[in-house]
């Protein structure tokens, strides 16, 4: 909503005058944009007639909010940001950063105390103050948690930045243990903690890690080799159905079928690769998109084998390497073998570590391959195909290996998905899934493993977290279902990230080659011309 102001008035007008003017324009633009979006709502009445609901109040609220927002930004936000860049004449120092002013020790202590108190007395709050204020207090608690976490991250930012990968892997390994420990303390029983951990380990942990793995797999095709693939979900579906069918029909174990599903997906990756060898960019995208749809339609229509849209259910669980199972009725059920209490959480925690292992395998393979000739050839292919050929690189095999490797990881993730859900149907493999995986790769920064993992966490974790925001019902009324807005927020987040960081969270590419004596020095630490 940038409003251009002519030069003369710019030099004369004070920020407030300018802000008023811009607020007026912003309001006018918002009015023009939203008069049909928000001002009028079409619906059906009982007799199926079209009815028009007028929502002028809501429209006015949106327009005023836009105008006020623009006013505050121009009148206070812009001068403030400009001041931050001006050093004090007397001391020669820049003003304290917003971060250090916002995250102060007293505020941190207050937030910690508030958070702990609200957690401890959570159960009895509703009784004391009534349901509605209790909802607001839960909102306050969420804010306190966010503030405390942000404080910790802010104070250790240098350390976190320096050791991001190690810290990240450690956090992921400890995550289920921490969740169970915290929830056990909260509920004063280990059984309660295990039960409560289901949601956190399954909905957040496993769900996010599946997408991390898929995005890392797609990253090989899109990020490294530069082949825009819009049908990646097809390989995910192939892996899932390969496991589902072979496990239900022939009773084969997950540990045999996992590599088999990966190989099958890789084979299909090669089969897809052959016809599209000559295509690049948009044309390749269209063909891969069609491929994804073909696979989905085959799954729907080949009823004799795939059971159509009804899907396949009763897919066996993964066993603990054949030693223990997670079925309560089995003689070697984990709780019976280890003489511990029965709980469904063991399986989820096991699955969490399984997918974490698969993710780390994907990352390890990607990092290794980038340093090998084939990985270098992928990246060179992304940069310039003609130059690649004239350097003696066989672009055919290079492309096919990229498709096959990417598809293989998709197949692994698919068979894991089938084992975790116990049920697969074509509905899980629609185009939107491909689009989300691709969006994660683009948002994270093509080719960057860390960036992609963060993007998956934000996107998938963020949309999952929306389901948890029950307190919003206190504000927007009981009909408000936050998860309905998750695609809207997803889109908004993408627009914001792309404006703010057009190359994704981690936009710079990490070089893989250094001179021997300078192996330790990365190019990002050396000035231009001094490397």
């Amino acid at each position: 909503m940038a409003v251009t102001v002519s030069r003369e008035s710019d030099s004369v007008a004070t920020p407030t005058q300018r802000a008023l003017k811009e607020a007026f324009y912003a309001g006018a633009i918002a009015l023009g944009l939203f008069v049909l979006f928000i001002g009028l709502k079409t619906g059906q009445n009982m007799s199926n007639e079209l009815v028009l609901t007028q929502r002028w109040g809501l429209l006015a609220a949106v327009v005023i909010a836009t105008a006020v927002g623009r006013f505050l930004y121009v009148a206070y936000g812009q001068p403030f940001m400009a001041n931050q860049k001006i050093a004090n004449v007397a001391t020669g120092l820049l003003p304290a950063s917003v971060g250090s002013r916002f995250f102060t020790l007293p505020a941190f202590i207050v937030a910690v105390v508030a958070m702990v108190l609200l957690f401890v007395f959570n159960g009895s709050l509703a009784g004391w103050v009534g349901a509605e204020p209790a909802g607001y207090l839960q909102f306050l608690r969420a804010l306190a948690v966010i503030y405390v976490l942000a404080c910790v991250i802010y104070y250790f930012r240098a350390f976190i930045h320096a050791n991001f990968t190690k810290l990240g892997i450690t956090a992921l390994v400890l995550y289920p243990i921490l969740v169970v420990a915290v929830l056990s303390l909260n509920a004063w029983s280990i059984a309660g903690g295990l039960q409560g951990s289901l949601k956190w380990v399954d909905n957040f942990g496993i769900q996010i890690l599946i997408y991390v793995m898929l995005a890392w797999g797609l990253n090989i095709v899109v990020g490294l080799a530069g082949l825009l693939d819009l049908g990646y979900v097809a390989f995910y579906a192939l892996g899932a159905y390969a496991y589902a069918l072979l496990a239900t029909q022939y009773g084969l174990s997950f540990w045999i079928l996992l590599p088999a599903a990966g190989c099958m997906a890789a084979l299909w990756g090669v089969l897809l690769g052959f016809p599209v060898l000559r295509l690049r960019g948009d044309y390749l995208a269209i063909v891969t998109l069609a491929f994804g749809e073909i696979i989905r339609l085959v799954l729907i229509n080949w009823r004799e084998v795939t059971n159509g849209s009804a899907g396949i259910s009763g897919i066996p669980k993964v066993s603990f390497f054949g030693l223990m199972t997670f079925n309560v009725s089995d003689p070697n059920y984990i709780a019976k073998v280890l003489h511990i209490a029965t709980s469904s959480a063991y399986y989820k925690i096991f699955l969490y570590y399984l997918i974490l292992g698969l993710c780390l395998l994907t990352a390890f393979v990607t990092i290794r391959l980038r340093r090998l000739p084939v990985g270098r050839a992928w990246e060179a292919l992304r940069e310039d195909e003609i130059a690649c050929r004239s350097l003696g690189i066989n672009t055919t095999t290079t492309k096919l290996t990229a498709f096959a490797t990417g598809a293989m990881f998709g197949g692994f993730a698919g068979s894991f998905f089938a084992a975790r859900q116990g049920f697969v149907s074509p509905e899980s493999f629609v185009f939107l899934e491909s689009a989300i995986i691709l969006a994660i790769v683009v948002l994270g920064g093509m080719g960057s493993l860390v960036g992609i993992a963060v993007a998956a966490m934000v996107m998938i974790g963020g949309t999952e977290a929306l389901r948890e925001l029950d307190f919003l019902k206190q504000i927007f009324g009981p009909d408000f279902t936050p998860e309905l807005y998750r695609m809207l927020l997803f889109g908004m987040a993408m627009v914001i990230v792309m404006l703010w960081k057009p190359r994704g969270f981690v936009g710079s590419r990490e070089p893989t080659a250094f001179l021997k004596e300078r192996r330790a020095v990365s190019s990002s630490f050396t000035k231009e011309g001094h490397g």
Binding site: P373, R376, A377, E379, A380, E383, D384, I386, A387, C388, R389, S390, L391, G392, I393, N394, T395, R509, P511, T512, A513, F514, L515, K516, R518, V521, S522, S523, T526, E528, G529, G531
Partner: protein
């Protein structure tokens, strides 16, 4: 100096769709020579260069390299015959560092001679050593040209093809590049086939030259002969830089 024939192009015709870009071109490059191909825009110089690499493929005629018919070989197989190219527009890998670009050039031998060859490239173009960790896309035009030639040299070529190495470069840098090519030819006996619009510089550098007009080779001779030829002077040199 006149060794055996390394590259022999006979009666090559290349088409873009139905349009004939080359009308039966004959060019020979002997071992140890620097051969220049000069001509105006659209004469088919770059097409000939690309045809040697099989993209686009010659519809008629044969291209023989060191006794082997390479007319129908796929591009990467041709490159593996030890023909290296610094293509038109340089085509370095912009997001990869100088180091990585050079590595890509050495991928034929799987980096067997990498350390030794990279030192040779740095001796030839010391500027590249200064820029070693910099991304290719952030180099200046001259540095990119040096990188493109350096990358081609990493493949230990028997024949180096250069497509307009002086394109868009300042005269001083052009001189540096031409000096480097002369140096390579003199000390290592590298055979060079050069396509240029900068006729004066190219013919001064070359052992022999060809003049191309509208897809035909119209004249050939030693560099000196062509420089002295009144037709060549009228068409390509008069009013140009001397």
């Amino acid at each position: 100096m006149a060794g055996t024939t390394l590259l022999d192009i006979k009666g090559v015709e290349t088409y873009y769709g139905n349009i004939r870009a080359l009308n039966g071109v004959d060019v020979t490059v002997k071992e140890g020579e620097i051969v220049a191909l000069i001509g105006a825009n659209g004469a088919g110089k770059s097409t000939l260069m690309m045809t040697i690499f099989g993209a686009p493929r010659a519809r008629t005629g044969t291209i023989t390299f060191a006794g082997t018919d390479i007319t129908q070989l796929p591009t990467h197989e041709i490159a593996r015959m030890r023909i290296a190219q610094s293509p038109e527009g340089r085509r370095i890998f912009p997001r990869m560092t100088v180091m990585e670009n050079l590595q890509m050039g050495a991928s034929l031998d799987n980096l067997k001679h990498y350390d030794e060859d990279v030192e040779k490239v740095f001796t030839l173009f010391p500027r590249l050593k200064e820029r070693i960790a910099q991304r290719g896309g952030t180099l200046s035009g001259g540095e990119q040209q040096m990188l493109s030639i350096g990358r081609a040299l990493m493949a230990r070529p028997k024949l180096l093809l250069l497509d307009e190495p002086s394109l868009g470069l300042a005269p001083l840098i052009v001189k540096q590049i031409f000096d480097a090519i002369r140096e390579l030819n003199r000390t290592q006996g590298l055979t060079v086939f050069l396509v240029e619009q900068n006729a004066f510089g190219a013919l001064k550098l070359a052992t022999r030259g060809y003049v191309m007009v509208n897809g035909n080779v119209t004249m050939s001779g030693t560099g000196k002969e062509l420089l002295a030829n009144p037709e060549v002077r009228a068409a390509y040199l008069e009013g140009g830089h001397h």
